[in-house]
C-alpha cells in the first residue's frame, strides 16, 4: 500500500505502548500547543470574505476561501513561536513564507526532459507536499473561488438628514445589473467622492479623449438614479470630471467601496455574482484605469489598493484568465514624478488575452503560437514556483483550523492545516532552593507512534527539572533518549520539545513575565541522514 519506513527502536515502542504522563492537568500553569497546523508567518495574506486579512488578524468564524473554492468558517486559530529557517515560495500570484513542514497542495515535476512539455505536466497528479520538498518549477495549486450567488437588488438607505429639504431622492432599490456593475468598475478605477455638506458628489475622472466612457457614466446615472451629472473639462490637465451630485449616491458608494483610494475594495456580494455579470465589473474597472495592447498582445492594470488588486485577481481567475500580480515600491521616474507604491496585474498569453479582450469588447487577432506554463483545471490554477529561498526567522507563526475543509487559500497558494498535534500541560512549583520546577506534566497527542513516544519522553525528561533546565531540552535530546527515530519522523513527529517550551512560555506569559526565546534546533545528532546535520550531540 505505502512504502514502509524504518523500524522503531525498543524505547520508542515502550513509550508508545505505555505512554507516561498521558492526560491533561486541570488549571494547568502553562499549556503548550504545537503541531504542524501552525506554520504560516503572520503577514501572510488570506482571502476572507470580509477582506484580505493578515493571518495574525484572523479570528474564529471569519470566512475563508478553502480547498474546493468555497467560503468556509474558521473554527480555531493557532500560533506558536519559532526560531528556525523558514521557506519563502513565490509564484505569479505572490509569495508565501512558511515553515518547512507545512503542507502545500502541489505537483512535484519529475526532473526529466519529457516534463518540459506542459502537455505531460498536465498528466501529473497533485498531492500535499512539505514546503521543503518543493523546488523551483514544481507546480502549485491555487483554489479558485467557485461560489455563485446572484444578487438582484441593492437596498438604499434613503433617510434624509434633518434640515435636508433639497436632496433628490433616488429609488430605494437599485438593480444590480450590468449597467450598475460597469459604473462600479469605473468608480473603482477612476472615482472618488466628497461627502462634505457643502460639497456632496461622486466624481469620475477621465481623460479628454475618453468621451465614450463619460457618455456611459452620464447615461447610467440618468437611467439608474434619474440624475443628470455635470461635466467639467480641464484642458490644461487634459482631463474631464463627471459629477453626480447626490447624497444618497455618495452614501451608497461609500458603503459599498470604502473610503480613500488605498482602501478601495470590491464588495463581497460582487465577488460571488454570476460570471456574466462580473464581466461588466471587469469591463468597468479595466476600461477605467487599465491598458490593453492589441499588438503584443497584453493587458495591464495598476492600483495602490492591495484589496482591489487581489479581488481583481480572483475575478479574472473566475473568468479563466490567468493574471500575474506584482508589487512596486514607491519610486521617482525620470521626469522626477513621484509614484506611490502600487500593485500591478498583467495578463498575457493567448487564451487569457483573448478572454480579456472579449470582456473589454476589443477586437483581437492573435495567431502567435506560445508556450504556457500555467493553466486552470477543475477549479484550480496550476502555476509553477518561480523561486524558493530560505530565510532565518524568529517570531510567531500562525495557522487556522477549518471545520470541514482542513485547507485554505493564501493569496497565492492552497495550504494545509493538518498533521500531528501535541498539547503539553505543566504545573509549576518551587523547590528547596526557591527555583521554579515542573512539578507535574501531562500531554495529549494525535499522531503516530513517534509522535506519542516523543510526547511521553519529553514529559519524563522534564518532570522535576527547573524551568530553565526544562526549557533547554531539545528535539535532539528527546530523540536520543528514545535511541533515535527514523529520519522521516524527525521533522514531522518530533515536536514534543517545542510543545514543552511553548508550555513554559505560556506560564511566563500568564505571570506577566518576559518569555524566553525558543532555542530548539531540529538538526540533531540522531538523524545523521538529515542533510543539514552538522552537529553531534543533541544539545545545541
Amino acid at each position: 500500500m505505502v512504502e514502509k519506513m524504518e523500524e522503531y527502536s525498543k524505547k520508542v515502542m515502550e513509550n508508545f505502548m505505555a505512554p507516561k504522563n498521558l492526560g491533561e492537568i486541570e488549571k494547568a500553569d502553562g499549556v503548550g500547543k504545537v503541531g504542524n497546523p501552525k506554520c504560516l508567518l503572520g503577514d501572510t495574506l488570506l482571502h476572507t470574505n470580509l477582506k484580505l486579512k493578515k493571518i495574525k488578524d484572523i479570528k474564529k468564524n471569519d470566512l475563508i476561501i478553502s480547498h474546493g473554492g468555497k467560503y468556509t468558517a474558521i473554527s480555531e486559530t493557532f500560533n506558536r513561536n519559532v526560531n528556525e529557517q523558514i521557506i519563502v515560495l513565490k509564484n505569479r500570484l505572490g509569495e508565501i513564507k512558511l515553515t518547512k513542514e507545512h503542507l502545500v497542495y502541489a505537483i512535484k515535476v519529475p526532473k526529466k526532459d519529457k516534463f518540459l512539455r506542459t502537455k505531460n505536466k498536465k498528466t501529473l497528479i497533485p498531492a500535499w507536499y512539505h514546503s521543503e520538498q518543493l523546488e523551483k518549477g514544481d507546480l502549485i495549486l491555487y483554489s479558485i473561488l467557485s461560489e455563485i450567488k446572484d444578487a438582484e437588488f441593492l437596498e438604499i438607505n434613503s433617510i434624509k438628514k434633518k434640515l435636508d429639504y433639497k436632496s433628490k431622492t433616488i429609488p430605494s432599490k437599485i438593480k444590480l445589473d450590468s449597467d450598475f456593475l460597469r459604473l462600479a468598475g469605473y468608480f473603482l478605477s477612476e472615482g472618488y467622492y466628497s461627502d462634505k455638506t457643502t460639497k456632496t458628489h461622486l466624481a469620475f475622472c477621465f481623460n479628454l479623449n475618453e468621451d465614450k466612457l463619460v457618455e456611459d457614466v452620464v447615461s447610467i446615472s440618468e437611467k439608474i438614479f434619474g440624475i443628470v451629472p455635470t461635466i467639467k473639462k480641464n484642458t490644461t490637465k487634459h482631463s474631464q470630471v463627471v459629477y453626480i451630485n447626490n447624497v444618497f449616491v455618495v452614501r451608497l458608494f461609500k458603503e459599498l467601496f470604502e473610503s480613500g483610494a488605498k482602501h478601495k475594495d470590491v464588495p463581497d456580494i460582487f465577488m460571488t455574482l454570476p460570471l456574466d455579470k462580473q464581466k461588466h465589473l471587469i469591463y468597468g474597472i479595466w476600461r477605467g484605469d487599465g491598458f490593453f495592447n492589441t499588438k503584443i498582445p497584453r493587458g495591464g492594470y495598476s492600483t495602490i489598493s492591495k484589496e482591489l488588486i487581489h479581488k481583481l485577481k480572483i475575478l479574472l481567475l473566475r473568468q479563466g484568465i490567468i493574471p500575474s500580480v506584482y508589487f512596486e515600491y514607491e519610486k521617482t521616474d525620470k521626469k522626477g514624478q513621484k509614484h506611490q507604491e502600487c500593485y500591478r496585474i498583467h495578463v498575457g498569453g493567448k487564451e487569457s488575452t483573448e478572454k480579456l479582450a472579449k470582456i473589454l469588447k476589443i477586437d483581437l487577432k492573435n495567431n502567435k503560437p506560445e508556450s504556457i506554463n500555467s493553466w486552470i483545471d477543475n477549479g484550480y490554477l496550476y502555476t509553477p514556483i518561480t523561486s524558493k529561498i530560505l530565510e532565518n526567522y524568529s517570531g510567531k507563526v500562525y495557522n487556522l483550523e477549518i471545520n470541514t475543509a482542513h485547507s485554505y487559500n493564501t493569496d497565492a497558494f492552497t495550504v494545509h492545516n493538518c498533521g500531528d498535534i501535541m498539547w503539553i500541560y505543566i504545573k509549576v512549583s518551587k523547590n528547596d532552593k526557591g527555583e521554579e520546577i515542573i512539578e507535574d506534566i501531562k500531554f495529549k497527542t494525535l499522531g503516530c507512534a513517534a509522535a506519542i513516544a516523543t510526547s511521553s519522553m519529553v514529559t519524563e525528561l522534564a518532570k522535576g527539572k527547573t524551568l530553565t533546565q526544562a526549557f533547554n531540552i531539545t528535539r535532539g535530546d528527546v530523540a536520543n533518549s528514545l535511541d533515535g527515530l527514523p529520519p522521516i519522523k524527525m521533522h514531522c513527529s518530533n515536536l514534543a520539545a517545542d510543545g514543552l517550551q511553548e508550555a513554559i512560555n505560556d506560564y511566563y506569559k500568564k505571570q506577566g513575565r518576559e518569555i524566553l526565546k525558543i532555542i530548539h534546533n531540529d538538526n540533531c545528532s540522531c538523524c545523521n541522514k538529515e542533510k543539514n546535520c552538522n552537529k553531534k550531540g543533541g544539545n545545541i
Binding site: 500500500m1 498528466t123 497528479i125 503516530c448
Partner: protein, 383 residues
Amino acid sequence: MNSIYLDNAATTKMHSSVKAAMIEAEEKYFGNSSSLHGVGRAAKTELDKARENISKKVSNKNHKLIFTSGGTESNNFAIKGLAEANKNKKHIITTKIEHDCVLNTTKFLEKNGYTVTYLDVDNNGFVNLEQLEKSIRKDTLLVSVIHGNNEIGTVQDLREIGKIVHDNGSLFHTDACQSFTKVPIDLEKDNIDLLTINAHKIYGPKGVGGLFIKEGIKLEPLLHGGGHEYKLRSGTVNVPGIIGFSKATEVIGEKEIEHMTTLRNQLVNGLKDVADSWLNGASLDCGKRLCNNANISFMYAEGEAILLYLDALGISVSTGSACSSNTLEPSHVLKAIGLKQEQTHGTVRFSVGIDNTKEEIKYTIDSVKDTIEKLRKMCPYKY
C-alpha cells in the same frame, strides 16, 4: 498470545493441501520440464495438468497461460511486453487506483515516450466508464484496470469495461491478483485479452503467478533465455510451485466465499457504532466488493498507531496512512476515492481469510474499539 491474521490481502498462509501437493511434487516431479528424459517428461506432464486446471477457472478455450514469478512480473510483462511488441501505438489507459506495479510500469513507459491516461474513480472506487470511452484513441495500445482493488476491495465490472475497450478497438488487461477464485472471471464473456493472476493471495506459494494471453496477441518477453514458456518467458519452470498454484485454485469455493463474507460483514457491522468512522470502497451488499476486504477510516486516531496497538494484541492488519510511509504520502487509492489527507490518517485495512473464526472477529472488534478509544483519549481534540 492471540494470533489473528487479518492481512490476507497482503499474503496468505499456505493451505495444507497445497503444502502436501508441493512436497509430493518436490519428491516426484523435480525434473526440468524441458528435459527429454522420463524424469523431465513426468514434470512436463504435471505442468500441463496444472496449466489446464488453472485455465479452466477462467476459460473453456485453450488460451496461453504463461507462468511467472508473481503478480508484479505478470503486470510488467503484460504492459511492457505488449508495448515492446506493438511500437506503433503509444497511448495507454489505466486508473488512479492500480497497484504500484502497474502504476510504476506505466510511469516507466511515460519516460519512454508513452502517454498515459489515469482514469478517475468515484467515491466507491468504480472507474468512470464515460471517461474511459472518451479517453480511448486510435493509438491506444492497452487499457489496464485492476479487477478487485487491493486496498478498498472494489470490484470493477470487467464485462462492461472490456466491451467499451473492444468496441473502441483497444486491448484489455486486468490485474486479478486479489479477485482470482473469489470473483468469477470469464476471458471470453468479459472481453479480457490479458489477465494477471497469482498464487500467494489464494493460499498458494509465494513467487508463482501467471499471465493469460489471448490468441493472436503478441508480447515481447521480459526475460530472454531458453524460451521455456511458449518462448515468452525463460527460466527453468517452477513445477512444484505451479503444482501448488494449481492446488490453491481449489481452496476457495462457494463455502469459503460465504464464510469470508460473513466474517467481513460481522467485522464491519461490529465496528459500525464507532463514532466518526466509515467504510471505504463499495458497499457490503452491492455484490461488487471483495468478500474478504474491509477498509475502515477512523478520525482522531492515526493508522500507524492503530496498527501497532493491534499488533501488540496479536492482530495483524495494514494501513494506508501517510505516517507509516517513507514519503509522508497517504495511499493513492484513498486519495483517488476523494478522501482528504486528514481523513486518510486513521485508515486500516482488514482482510479476513478462510481460517479466521467468528470468535476471532469478535475479539478483533473489541480490540479495535478499545484501541480507538485509547488513542482518542490521547487526542487533544474532542475525545
